[in-house]
């Protein structure tokens, strides 16, 4: 198992009157190469959760294991853990700081102690993977467009060659075109490099399209853990948690209620189209 959380609890402000339990006995296993979506309303504990995966937060109780080793053991090398588990925060473009794009992306590998040459090679690879053309390498990161800046920030994490990539709302504020491009690139990284991806998002449509497994966090607990299709079939419970299902889920349920025999598990436009066409042709052949 790549990452394992055993009975993890996290309490903010322990011992003060402001004590708040953010994570409540979380048990979770994440395997290599998984593409996991994480959803939950603001304040559900999902940001607290992801900060446990690379040791930014230490559980109040319980264990976090990476490749079978407890990351809070005394002799554990947390610094190297953070190069294995890359965390891309919300609005990562706010963290760009170097004078040009290439230098900014080289910063991570440099800190890992790699030679100038290796850093450069890593940076080139990472930048090409996120679709930044070479003629922008010398540009100031601050002169780029919003979508480009975000890609450069992502490349900065990729250049450290992580095995796990955690992204906190990577598409917030991007236009639909930019959103699709970025998510396709992330899926490509997972397919090509075998990177394990954890995607925190507020977009149910993106989860349905890209994730193979979906974690729903509510009130510091894992409320659902399963294939997105199965989780979204609980859309009424999701709504009670301040979440929702993709628009497609609502369409399929409404059609079913009207007597059209469609597949309720469809969550993407493509799946819905196939199911509806099939149901329409069945209805036609029944002569109604």
């Amino acid at each position: 198992m790549l990452i394992e959380l055993k009975d993890v609890c996290y309490t903010y402000g322990t011992g003060t009157v402001y004590e708040v339990s953010a994570l409540d006995h979380i048990n979770l296993q994440i395997g290599e190469g998984e593409f996991i979506g994480i959803i939950g309303h603001t304040g559900s504990g999902k940001s607290t959760l992801i900060q446990h995966f690379n040791g930014l937060l230490k559980p109040t109780s319980g264990q976090v294991l990476f490749e079978g080793k407890d990351i809070w053991e005394e002799d554990y090398d947390l610094r190297s853990l953070r190069t294995h588990v890359g965390l891309v925060f919300q609005y990562p473009e706010n963290q760009l700081f170097e004078t040009d794009v290439l230098k900014d992306v080289m910063f991570g590998p440099k800190n890992q102690g790699l030679s100038e040459e290796d850093c450069r090679a890593r940076a080139h690879e990472a930048l090409s993977q996120v679709g930044i053309p070479e003629d922008l390498y010398g540009a100031s990161p601050f002169d780029l467009s919003g979508g480009q800046k975000r890609r450069v920030a992502l490349a900065g994490v990729l250049a450290m060659d992580p095995e796990v990539l955690i992204l906190d709302e990577p598409t917030a504020g991007l236009d639909p075109g930019g959103r699709d491009e970025l998510l396709r690139e992330i899926r490509f990284l997972r397919d090509k490099r075998g990177i394990t991806v954890l995607l925190v998002t507020h977009s149910m449509e993106d989860v349905a399209q890209y994730a193979k497994r979906l974690l729903v966090i509510d009130n510091g607990k894992i409320a659902f853990d399963g294939a997105p299709k199965r989780v979204f079939s609980h859309y009424k419970e999701l709504e009670k948690m301040g979440l929702a299902a993709p628009q497609i889920t609502y369409i399929m349920h409404a059609l079913k209620e009207r007597g059209l025999d469609v597949d309720l598990r469809a969550t993407t436009v493509e799946e819905a189209k196939r199911s509806i066409l099939l149901a329409l042709s069945q209805r036609a052949s029944e002569g109604r």
Partner: protein, 291 residues
């Protein structure tokens, strides 16, 4: 209907300096924009990142003034410096990140900040605050610290802060980009209510296509210009064109479009789940089943 916002030949250039060259570069953010918004309408502006939407929006409350052409808000030329506060009172703005807009330590103080700046007498400020908070459904939170609110609640407080200034029009620049589904729903509901009940003119900039469904009129921007305009139905009937502009259509519209292409008998530009469901499985059939 009288117009509240009017732009003629509106353009905005800015000068960009670089470290390397002495020569400053002139960049055109928006150009040749003609726009007329009638009082009480709900307008949506779409466009990819960098298309000029936010630059246009900032002209409506004189955060920017045009370098060519003219912008009038309720008949006032926004370039007239002496009328700046009049313009800002008529057109309020709400931005993407609620945390950057809330300054008070208590909700009602934050909402009172705007009217206080307008020089409104204290007792009137408090009645305006009450009124604004109740319009966004946040009256019960008036004594709370904004820090303990959800994203959607914070954004509603930010909207109340604008409402308390009694604006004719509210410009919202991606107000739901950072919110969870619940927060998004809350904010959109509040915006629609302000528009329908209070007659406030709404200008909504968004990347969420579903939010545009409610608009009376949509403008689509590209490279600093308005390249498409029409009702949501007219705009979303052009799915391919929108894709070229790095935009999309709501999932329900896309599905209807795909089904129609495959031969299903559907109208153009389906916008809502109800419309699609009614077209595919009319109610009468349900009764036929039962009979």
């Amino acid at each position: 209907m009288p117009s509240i916002i009017k732009a003629r030949g509106l353009g905005f250039d800015y000068v960009k300096y670089t470290d390397e060259s002495e020569n400053a570069e002139r960049v055109t953010a928006i150009r040749e924009i003609d726009l007329t918004v009638e009082k009480g309408t709900f307008i949506a502006i779409l466009g990819h990142n960098g298309s000029g939407k936010s630059t246009l929006a900032k002209h409506i409350n004189a955060l920017l003034v045009p370098t060519s052409g003219t912008m009038w808000v309720d008949g006032i030329d926004t370039a007239k410096e002496q009328d700046l506060w009049k313009v800002r009172q008529k057109a309020g703005m709400v931005f993407q990140n609620p945390d950057n807009q809330i300054i008070g330590t208590v909700v009602d103080e934050d909402v009172g900040f705007g009217p206080e700046n307008l020089g409104i007498p204290t007792k009137d400020i408090w009645s305006r605050v009450d009124d604004a908070l109740s319009k966004v459904g946040m009256l019960g939170f008036r004594d709370r610290s904004p820090n303990h609110l959800s994203g959607g609640q914070k954004q509603r407080v930010a909207i109340a802060g604008v409402v308390a200034m009694h604006p004719e029009c509210i410009v919202l620049d991606e107000p739901t980009a950072m919110l969870d589904p619940n927060g998004r729903r809350e904010v959109i509901e509040v915006i629609r209510e302000l528009n329908q009940r209070e007659g406030v003119t709404v200008i909504l900039i968004t990347h969420y296509m579903e939010e545009v469904t409610y608009a009376d009129h949509v403008y689509v921007m590209d490279a600093g210009q308005v390249v498409m305009e029409g009702t949501p139905r007219e705009i979303f009937a052009q799915a391919e064109r929108l894709k070229e502009l790095r935009l999309s259509v709501p999932q329900v519209t896309e599905l209807a479009y795909e089904l129609k292409k495959a031969g299903a008998d559907l109208p153009d530009g389906v916008l809502t789940i109800d419309e699609l469901v009614d077209a595919l499985a009319p109610r009468s059939e349900q009764y036929a089943d039962r009979a």
